[in-house]
Assembly symmetry: D2
Homo-oligomer: 429 residues x 4
Amino acid sequence: MPISYTRARDLARRLSRGQSVDQLSQRLKPVVESERALSPRVPGQGDWSAAAHAERIAFLERKGLQLPALAGRSGAPDPASLQGNIEGYIGMTSIPTGLVGPLRINGLHASGDYYVPLATSEGALVASYDRGARLISLAGGASTITTNEQVQRAPGFVFETVAQASLFAVWAVAEFDRFHEVAATRTRHGQLLDLMTHIEGNHVYLIFAFYTGDAAGQNMVTFCTAAICADILERTPIAPTSWFLESNMSGDKKATALSFFQTRGRNAIAEVLIDRALFEQRMHTTPERMAEYWRMSFIGGVQTGSIGVSGHISNGIAALFLATGQDAACISEASVGITRMEVADGGGLYAAVTLPNLILGTVGGGTALPTARECLRILDCDGADRAARLAEICAAVTLAGELSIVAALCSGDFARAHATLGRKQEPRA
Amino acid sequence: MPISYTRARDLARRLSRGQSVDQLSQRLKPVVESERALSPRVPGQGDWSAAAHAERIAFLERKGLQLPALAGRSGAPDPASLQGNIEGYIGMTSIPTGLVGPLRINGLHASGDYYVPLATSEGALVASYDRGARLISLAGGASTITTNEQVQRAPGFVFETVAQASLFAVWAVAEFDRFHEVAATRTRHGQLLDLMTHIEGNHVYLIFAFYTGDAAGQNMVTFCTAAICADILERTPIAPTSWFLESNMSGDKKATALSFFQTRGRNAIAEVLIDRALFEQRMHTTPERMAEYWRMSFIGGVQTGSIGVSGHISNGIAALFLATGQDAACISEASVGITRMEVADGGGLYAAVTLPNLILGTVGGGTALPTARECLRILDCDGADRAARLAEICAAVTLAGELSIVAALCSGDFARAHATLGRKQEPRA
Amino acid sequence: MPISYTRARDLARRLSRGQSVDQLSQRLKPVVESERALSPRVPGQGDWSAAAHAERIAFLERKGLQLPALAGRSGAPDPASLQGNIEGYIGMTSIPTGLVGPLRINGLHASGDYYVPLATSEGALVASYDRGARLISLAGGASTITTNEQVQRAPGFVFETVAQASLFAVWAVAEFDRFHEVAATRTRHGQLLDLMTHIEGNHVYLIFAFYTGDAAGQNMVTFCTAAICADILERTPIAPTSWFLESNMSGDKKATALSFFQTRGRNAIAEVLIDRALFEQRMHTTPERMAEYWRMSFIGGVQTGSIGVSGHISNGIAALFLATGQDAACISEASVGITRMEVADGGGLYAAVTLPNLILGTVGGGTALPTARECLRILDCDGADRAARLAEICAAVTLAGELSIVAALCSGDFARAHATLGRKQEPRA
Amino acid sequence: MPISYTRARDLARRLSRGQSVDQLSQRLKPVVESERALSPRVPGQGDWSAAAHAERIAFLERKGLQLPALAGRSGAPDPASLQGNIEGYIGMTSIPTGLVGPLRINGLHASGDYYVPLATSEGALVASYDRGARLISLAGGASTITTNEQVQRAPGFVFETVAQASLFAVWAVAEFDRFHEVAATRTRHGQLLDLMTHIEGNHVYLIFAFYTGDAAGQNMVTFCTAAICADILERTPIAPTSWFLESNMSGDKKATALSFFQTRGRNAIAEVLIDRALFEQRMHTTPERMAEYWRMSFIGGVQTGSIGVSGHISNGIAALFLATGQDAACISEASVGITRMEVADGGGLYAAVTLPNLILGTVGGGTALPTARECLRILDCDGADRAARLAEICAAVTLAGELSIVAALCSGDFARAHATLGRKQEPRA
């Protein structure tokens, strides 16, 4: 996160879905196959025939899902339906989409065996994530949680002197309750949560943090902040010489250390504890070697100066974001996170992924586009009150991907998997 | 970059397409409308009717382009054709795609008036980039250049002691020529360019940098490095206790300070000098205010701890990457860059974008997918010897986007544009 | 900063020393020589004779200061007096100390014409800072302000699962008031200000932020946090499997992006507006060239991946920290900051330095050592209720240094100054 | 590092002091007490009496060292002798200095049992480092190595267009040999090693890297680069519109990701392998707990966005830099590094410190000051051909400090040690 104690009630309220220590622990604990059978695997893995494709579509439609757009039965959309999503429309870019699953999740908001659509053109990616998902599921599933959630917009104000700047900052923070009300006139679903001030010389940056409901929320925070700024300019006792609605401190659409600390979007965590025998049997390597790799690669990541350190989180994030109609530009921020792997007491493997910048939504933006809506339905994530669930699925999916790629690097399968699945027929790249 | 002087010949060779100082300067200099008329604008901007859509398709097809996939006339693909791109195929995710242009570019590899397909679901994005493209074109076009180009893969080796580690490092760097030969057995188009060593305690990280031709090249560098590692393990005088094909120092699919310095993929720069009168007339703000915004927002970005500082580069990168079949996970790294704006001598606006991590290709990966291939053709970027051109187009497109968004923030149009184009009909977000 | 609105009252209370907008603005506004004559310059600049040294000592002693230790009249200290500062004592390391001034400051806590002792062995440093101080003073002085102040200690707790970790975090933040009381049993001068939680997988990091009065406070926060942790372990409903008093999230003695955002120690800002004629006459360059340098060097700093961007802040910080008995290890964090220079409306030069990590004190640590105490007295900063003043002096001094070095780089004097003052007699380095 | 293969010969030549794999491994391997008795401990630890002080001085002087300045027998210096180090001289700031040792080092450049003077006012620091030094020594000593060494200076050049900028860059890199000659006219001891170019829009940054012999070298690289720039301006085919001798890309006196990667100053590594029984007996904790702490604190450091991740390296660096006359402002960069701890095969503890930014010297700057010269002699590091040795001692000393502090945090002794040694008599801080 980190979040201030004054914001603790939000976290507490969110976690209270589990009511008590025992109940939350119960909700998040692994459920192995002997307790509840795993849902069937996606049919026809490793088969690129039209029949296998049809079988997979049928498999999903038997669950009551309608998938005309994904299945290619719905024809080209009416351009008028795309107003609000595109200008100068010339057509639809098509991205191949595969299905992974089941992925068992025992989370605060996500719970059950999920089938996960991933849109990508990188061969081997879906197969790799599916391998990780199977491992997690056989281990009883990933425990997931969503902690903090907020989206920022950060206007900037220029003054003549630092004296004016600091007095303006003092005035502004005291107006928080008023700003909260102003924001409420512009949104039904969101609310102003926090206001941070930053003074640099005679510059004042105000960082407004909003709860944006089930929307990714960038437009919502823009409109609310515009209204707040109008209010500020009308009432401020110290007029700025200049001001801008966004000063580049919101972290919008870029990886930043600030967002990594503070959460931008949703902060979701997924962890899994995998029994040694299960792990070794399926992944052809050992928890010790995974831990050794984690250590070396974590130091490697630090040495590159990355923000957060992980394996290939962006692969899973990108594929899930594209499939579910998220803003692809946010892949740059949403991919920031921490992956950890260690040998657990008892000799198994403990692995966790922490993703503090999951800017995503289940309403608004591209989520109503035909294929996105179908993919959200496959995940039981369409519509209201589902965004935290989608965030937890993101965390569990990336955990699957991290486990699979690291195991491949440890067992020596990495290059071979890409040689097999990542290209068509050329003997040499 | 930075690049070492020993690699200078590569840069020099690349720039020699312009032959001499005078010729390169000539090739990159602005060409205003009075010298060469601008190509016509994309028809039907601001019109979401089916007729306008058809008119835009016809506009492109009159240029000899065939666009059945984008136009929605080609039906669902044969799943078998997707082997190498996807597993567990269930269908195609569709992303709305709009057209921007013309965007005049006077570059080392890109030259002419381009129409640029952008795939996104963010309303207002295409319109905003189109506005920036028009400004650049009226100013005579963006000057673009591609400097460095390389893709890394970084295996890690663990030894018992730092003595062994350092002796291994010394041995390895002396084997460069041999490694170059080994790599050549695995690729026709690529070649090993450089090898950097990094010792941390008893860990040795070897960072191999390859030229990957017109492919994004991640698989190529994996296969080549796997072959080099096999050679290392066979011949090394000091055996590692453990090793991994990738140690997280390659920067693959994440924003890193190291890649930002060193180039990962292609390093492209675009700049434009805009006459004051033209600028003020079209953007409703002044070069001085743009420079003031740049200063405040650049400091703002520094204060968030971002890698590189820019506005919303990721929007343009994501939209162009999706349209042209690039790896969407690479948006996380490709969006890193520097945007600069200043008042030029003479009172106009100077603006530049430097993008050092453009991992992209015009062959391989998703570039052969039907809609991607059509979009690459619109850009005259399909096939061999086109990747540097695509990189320069990326730089010019993001420059257009930076100019447009910053001007909107300076003139006060930012929130209004999103309210108009970014949503359908809801009165409140 | 940034600071949350809930912490705003602290900032407001601190700024209320100026009572009102008008009064604070009045207190911080420049005072040119015609309004109040500048104090005399340090005598004997450019003279290394014993007589000049004696004259400088006499100059200070005429102000009622006693300087036996600096003047070399006090002999070796009794080792027993150094208990608490050193073990295995063998003697005193001696660092040459020079005097800069007067430096006019119009600040919230510092106000007047200061003479500043700087301890360094880098020739040209004192002369350069003196040049900058003179420029500032002739311009009417630097306006300074101290905004936020806090010192962190960050214990870490390990749990079996993320469920336990998050429930512990929820419990802990709700105990803030209790922790505040526990801390109060261990310190008279400090108090617990804030508690931030950070969950990564099954790890919980608690970041306690304290006000530490006039002490740098690292020991105080250690003792208070140890007491809080004892209380936690006694009462927590969820026992950690392991815990550590410090988890490396406090930012202690290192440059971190987190401290740069959040303040560690004191956050002080200094600014000055310099009339064009005065500037050009004394610095042999123009405000435009300073602004051009700022822009290029600021981008340069961003390209190196530094935390904050400035010129040579660490020179002034190190010299002032050594002279005044601060912890030299904290130079690594205290040197983080932002320097800004721009052409002001009216054609003058605006310059500001923002230093958010000034870990310093006027009591405790090395501040009672003989020469440190004398230097603190020269600054009117010895004892209680002086730490914020010292912080503002730090900001003003570094502003002087930034102005001087950048002007030297702009006018071409940089290498020459070092050649003249930075070495003794060797013709070649 | 990393260093390019083209620079490999430098590393190889440096390591060739060990001639062969076997010989280097032999030189760096641990030497336990049964093979060679440890030198006696510093007398009178824990005794602050004048007698104990005198005993320690006598202990050192019996080794043939003369220590009048440290011992307080030499009186105040002649101010004239300080020309080149200070201006406006008012006296000497005195910093308490303690002795640690013996610290056994088996290194490429340092070899033997060292007594280490540390200047600090932080109580408990010397005792803590002494505890770590004893642990290392009993384990047979730290293995140390110096790999890369270079100091940068980075002039910046502004052009009208990116075309001119890139052509200038191409021209400049081709002039490397000439620049090497020009540099040679300004220094006997240094030489130009590398030149990296960086183009951002129409800006060109040239990063010159020099070998600076036994000097820290900032002045040397300034003078050499000034000469090279004069040569550039005289001969360049494309004249810049503006240029600056330093563009903030050298990393001078600040922590930067670029220097962390590339080495600035010397890159030294120290490692030690400690037998489990020895470790547990002396440190009251286990290798497993140390590894657990390392993992949690390393992730903690990543979450703060620090450059490199370590414990309190800056404490040791600052204390050793002050004692030996180094530039205290460089503490900000020299403190950057990586600390690693893990359970070794066999159950012992493996620990390593990698310090890539050791800007230090044994000649020039403050090294000739009386107490500095004495401290350098204690370390057998005064004069020529000793800087690499001092760098390795730095690495071994910080390794001692890291082991001691982490063990204290693991065993629960951290707060208690500071309560005992870190303050005089006050019951409450």
